[in-house]
């Protein structure tokens, strides 16, 4: 009796855990995210909202988790897609006054881009790869900033 009750409690706990896990995975709550500001930038630049973005493993974003200086954060974006399928790479940061960091239109080079950006305060950096068939693939990573780069 006791053992079965334990088993039931165990499965309940497991269910709770998996649902909690699913919840954290679905909206991908990142440190310092500001979807309202990001949405504004996305609508302005792409004419699409945050819900139109597909989180994809095919996009690799390399950025430091803790930046030495917000004025100079190295960002590297690479997509594991054929070069002729990628149209453009966009990069956004949630809390910057102007969320758009840069747009790169690729026309013959490999889907790779590296640069250094300013991040105003601790917020996720989002790499968005626009494909020729109109899909937006996204990868995000939170960057912790101690010294802001825009003020």
């Amino acid at each position: 009796m006791k053992a079965s009750a334990g088993a039931v409690a165990g499965t309940m706990l497991a269910n709770q855990l998996t649902s909690a896990l699913a919840q954290t995975q679905a909206p991908a709550a990142l440190e310092g995210q500001d979807l309202a500001n990001l949405e504004k930038g996305l609508q302005q630049v792409l004419g699409k909202g945050f819900k139109d973005m597909t989180v994809s493993q095919q996009v690799k974003l390399v950025a430091p988790t803790i930046a030495e200086s917000g004025a100079n954060v190295p960002v590297e974006i690479e997509a594991s897609l054929p070069a002729d399928q990628v149209k453009a790479i966009h990069c956004f940061s949630d809390k910057n006054a102007n969320p758009l960091l840069f747009t790169v239109i690729l026309n013959g080079v490999l889907p790779y881009y590296a640069t250094r950006v300013r991040v105003a305060e601790t917020a996720p950096v989002r790499a968005i790869v626009e494909t020729k068939d109109g899909k937006f693939l996204m990868a995000s990573q939170s960057v912790r900033v101690t010294v802001g780069g825009c003020g």
């Binding site: 004025a71 100079n72 954060v73 940061s93 910057n96 006054a97 102007n98 758009l100 960091l101 840069f102 747009t103 790169v104 239109i105 690729l106 026309n107 013959g108 080079v109 490999l110 790779y112 881009y113 590296a114 640069t115 250094r116 950006v117 300013r118 991040v119 105003a120 780069g149 825009c150 003020g151």
Partner: protein, 108 residues
């Protein structure tokens, strides 16, 4: 004063078919327009708005940096080195200054 650009290839002389990294550095303060000087006045925005990379006069990549790009920014691309050619980089900033630089890509 025109914008000074530096172009480098890595590896410097790629083999045919090898991936080559094109690294471009622009010497520019990239004022985002949100910074204030000592007296508290906003420093007006002045950043590069467009950078074009051409190979044999054909546009292969175009960058449109927003204000959130660092001072003296790096722009790095990768391409397959299929043939030798001339890489030309042109850029333009908010105050209308331009920069231009050409570099020859040679195969080993």
């Amino acid at each position: 004063m025109p914008i000074n650009l530096l172009v480098r290839f890595s590896p410097a002389k790629p083999k045919a078919g090898e991936e080559v990294r094109i690294q471009i550095v622009a010497q520019h303060a990239m004022e985002p327009g949100t910074r204030r000087d000592a007296s508290g006045k906003v420093i007006p925005a002045d950043h590069i708005t467009e950078l074009n990379v051409l190979m044999d006069n054909q546009l292969i990549a175009q960058v449109k940096p927003g204000p959130g790009t660092s001072a003296n920014p790096l722009f790095a691309f990768k391409m397959k080195a299929s043939k030798a050619g001339q890489i030309k980089v042109t850029c333009k900033d908010l105050t209308g200054q331009t920069g231009e630089k050409t570099a020859d890509l040679t195969l080993a």
